[in-house]
């Protein structure tokens, strides 16, 4: 399973650069990264998916991220209950004759048609990766001409995992991790 991390980072110039630089220099593979404003002003929330299976390395990625001065908190949510979504735009070549068929397919996936040109249609959906993969596969016969896809966003299910504006102090228990069990900061 891929490693999914949620990070709260200060919204300052160059932060993305620092994170990208860290992953490149440590030879960690980023699969995807999504970032946007969080509920707290001045703080962005990120979902990072890394391609690392080795537990020791995963811990190392986690702590290296946490060591970045602009990173306020990190949570490894790989094994926690989360809602996850990716978003996609797909442009297919389809004249009026194909519209019916296309409509049915799109509906089946809970997707939407958001633009119709002369002989092109743009479809959008937000869903889990597997569903999106399947949608793309199903649309293949319609001659896909463009795909624009985001990486994964995750949010933990259940109670609010909110970062307060006050300083987050790590307690020993949260940071001292056993390789079998990565404890992390709350976020």
């Amino acid at each position: 399973m891929k490693q999914t991390l949620i990070a709260l980072v200060e919204d300052k110039p160059g932060v993305l650069n620092r994170i990208a630089s860290l992953f490149r220099r440590r030879n960690f593979n980023i699969e995807s990264l999504v970032v946007g404003k969080s509920e707290t002003s001045g703080i962005s929330r990120m979902t990072i998916v890394a391609n690392e299976v080795d537990r020791r390395k995963r811990g190392n990625i986690y702590f290296n991220l946490l060591n970045l001065v602009n990173v306020v908190a990190v949570k490894d949510v790989s094994e926690l209950a989360c809602v996850t979504r990716e978003f996609i735009f797909i442009k297919v070549q389809a004249g009026p004759d194909k519209l019916n068929e296309l409509n049915q397919l799109v509906k089946k996936f809970g997707a939407r048609i958001v633009d119709m040109g002369l002989d092109t249609v743009i479809i959008e959906t937000a869903d889990e990766k597997e569903v999106i993969d399947e949608l793309v596969e199903s649309l293949a016969p319609f001659n896909i001409s463009e795909i624009m896809r985001t990486g994964k966003m995750s949010m933990r299910r259940g109670r609010t995992h909110k970062v307060s504006s006050e300083k987050i102090n790590a307690t020993a228990e949260e940071v001292n991790w056993q390789p079998e069990q990565i404890h992390t900061y709350h976020n």
């Binding site: 200060e10 110039p13 160059g14 650069n17 620092r18 630089s21 220099r25 020791r56 811990g59 190392n60 702590f63 290296n64 946490l66 060591n67 970045l68 001065v69 602009n70 990173v71 306020v72 908190a73 300083k167 987050i168 102090n169 790590a170 307690t171 020993a172 228990e173 940071v175 001292n176 991790w177 056993q178 390789p179």
Partner: protein, 580 residues
């Protein structure tokens, strides 16, 4: 309220003074001119050292920081001034040394236009700094500099760069120093150990029959010498040090057995390999201390006490990770630690030591002057009480082996990056803190030629330093690898030296050349008498090797030892041809 109208340039110095910095190493240029102009007003509080190359400024700040435990400060202009700092930043980064580098930048309005001497220095130095800043608003300048010092010295220390555009230095505002406490959510103080961790640690030590303490640089930075020695004495645990751990525990202590790793002592490496418990204190299992990872101390459980959680379980899997400041954690442990009896284990290590000592060059007569003998004499001639700064190469390893350090911060050396050219500038920097100890810079002929331009700085500043050039006519450590692993093809390792005595003479210094063992101490005495810089060139055996050695890829205990001397008194590795 104490509000005054100040320029950005003045704010820089106000902030530097607030950090109790009284010496700055730097070099002026266009983009940092306003700061240098404003310096005139702060002359009574700050001494500026004009270096000869900005790399030198960073190493001086680094040497000052290592010697003092305070933050060192370096300053340079934009573009080439800033890029010249990269090696020094990387050196400080690898060895966790707190320095703050302040660079000028082109005016903010032209950033991004490839203006004259514009370099994206914050972008360039992300991988070699702990953190860096580009200040785009004069209102943020003071907070930023204050933060920079805080980041540099907090947690695991490291270098920080602050880039300040020229127009920001020129603007002025009503200024009041930000006295508020720093609030940086991304910089967390390490916790102490939990009770459970302490109990586990004690239980592991009690259960062990062959425990061993690995003493690293963290001991010095955390000032935990007393705690480590107390633990060792209470539980009778032998100690080995890393290169940067030297001085962290007194070499003469009966439980301190010497350096570990590639050129460490055979008995220390042997003990690590046979241990059933390793207690790693403020070290990071660098490849130079582990040898082949798969077979590193295969039968031991491992405890790792470390301030940087990203170092724990990075190279070596450990059973008990403890994220925390070493002094804090050991202060929790020691009151609970009961006496342990490890006599038979200690006797075993001692017997390995006795066995190995016979192969040591130090106990052999040689016709040629040997690097090891020179270092040993310097140790004698300084009563083992000097502040030593070494460069990188064979002479560095010989120093680590033959100069015994009793106190923390008495050996400064570039361990992680192995930066040739470090010693002279770092020694100059250290001399601005260390006023009591004699300072000896031990440097190879190759390394000296990398930054010998700073001789000018040493003379201009009349630093009381002694430079010992160990001249073997080679990039010796590389030559050693060529001899061992490349069938003695000495590709580009013979190196010409200038006449160092004349070179020093050109700077108005009296210098000395030594070729006989008997002349080492008398010549040292002459150098010691001089005030200001002195220089001695020691002409040593060209083809000597540093033994023992763990070849790369070998297990830690698979060490090559010095071949026993043949009867004609010549070293077996000695080749007859002259290289120069």
């Amino acid at each position: 309220m104490n509000e005054r109208k100040l320029t950005g340039a003045e704010i820089i110095w106000e902030c530097v003074v607030k950090e109790q910095v009284d010496v700055v190493f730097g070099y002026p240029g266009g983009a940092i001119l306003p700061a240098y102009d404003a310096l005139e007003k702060y002359r009574d509080k700050i001494h500026h050292v004009l270096v000869r190359h900005e790399q030198g400024a960073t190493h001086m700040a680094d040497g000052f920081a290592r010697a003092s435990g305070k933050v060192g400060v370096a300053m340079a202009t934009s573009g080439p001034g800033a890029t010249n700092m990269i090696t020094g930043l990387a050196t400080a980064m690898m060895d966790s040394v707190p320095i703050v580098c302040i660079t000028g930048q082109v005016p903010s309005s032209v950033i991004g236009s490839d203006a004259f001497q514009e370099i994206d220095i914050t972008g360039s130095t992300i991988p070699v700094t702990k953190h860096n800043y580009l200040v785009m608003d004069i209102h943020e300048l003071a907070d930023t500099i204050k933060e920079a010092f805080h980041v540099a010295r907090s947690g695991r220390p490291g270098p920080v760069l602050v880039d300040i555009p020229k127009d920001i230095q020129n603007q002025s505002i009503d200024f009041q120093y930000p006295e508020n406490e720093i609030d940086m959510p991304g910089v967390v103080n390490p916790p102490g150990a939990t009770d459970e961790q302490i109990n586990t640690l004690i239980h592991m030590i009690e259960a062990a029959e062959r425990p061993f303490i690995l003493a690293g640089h963290g001991i010095i930075m955390s000032e935990a010498t007393g705690q480590v020695i107390q633990l060792s004495e209470q539980a009778n645990i032998p100690i080995g040090t890393t290169l940067l751990g030297i001085g962290g525990v007194p070499a003469s202590h009966p439980l301190v057995f010497g350096m570990m790793g590639m050129h460490g002592e055979t008995w220390v490496n042997q003990a690590i390999q046979e241990a059933d418990l390793l207690i790693a204190c403020g070290m990071r299992f660098d490849d130079r201390v582990t040898g082949k990872l798969e077979n590193y101390s295969p039968n031991s459980k491992k405890i790792h006490i470390e301030i940087d959680p990203a170092e724990i379980n990075k190279n070596i899997h450990v059973e008990l990770p403890i994220h925390g400041d070493l002094q804090t954690v050991l202060s929790q442990v020691n009151p609970l630690m009961k006496k342990q009896d490890n006599r038979s284990w200690l006797r075993r290590i001692d017997s390995w030591r006795k066995e190995s000592k016979g192969k040591d060059i130090i106990h052999q007569d040689t016709e040629m002057l040997m690097g090891a003998h020179v270092i040993r004499k310097i140790w004698e001639g300084t009563k083992g009480d000097a502040l030593i700064i070494t460069d990188v190469g064979q002479h560095q390893m010989l120093e680590a082996q033959y100069y015994e350090h009793e106190d923390p911060r008495t050996l400064l050396t570039s361990g992680g990056l192995g930066t040739m050219g470090f010693s002279l500038p770092a020694g100059i920097g250290a001399s601005f803190y260390e006023k009591d100890r004699e300072i000896w810079i031990i440097v190879g002929d190759g390394s000296f030629q990398m930054t010998m331009t700073e001789l000018g700085t040493a003379v201009q500043e009349n630093r009381n330093i002694n430079i010992a050039i160990i001249n073997n006519g080679y990039l010796g450590m590389v030559r050693q690898w060529q001899e061992m692993f490349y069938e003695a093809r000495y590709s580009e390792t013979p190196i010409l030296s200038p006449d160092y005595v004349k070179l020093a003479g050109a700077y108005g210094l009296e210098a000395f050349r030594v070729e006989e063992l008997g002349d080492v101490i008398p010549t040292m005495r002459k150098a010691q008498k001089q005030s200001g810089p002195s220089l001695i060139e020691f002409v040593v055996e060209k083809h000597d090797m540093v033994y023992p050695m763990v070849p790369t890829g070998a297990d830690l205990h698979e060490m090559i030892e010095r071949p026993v001397k043949p009867s004609n008194g010549k070293l077996p590795s000695e080749k007859k041809e002259s290289v120069l």
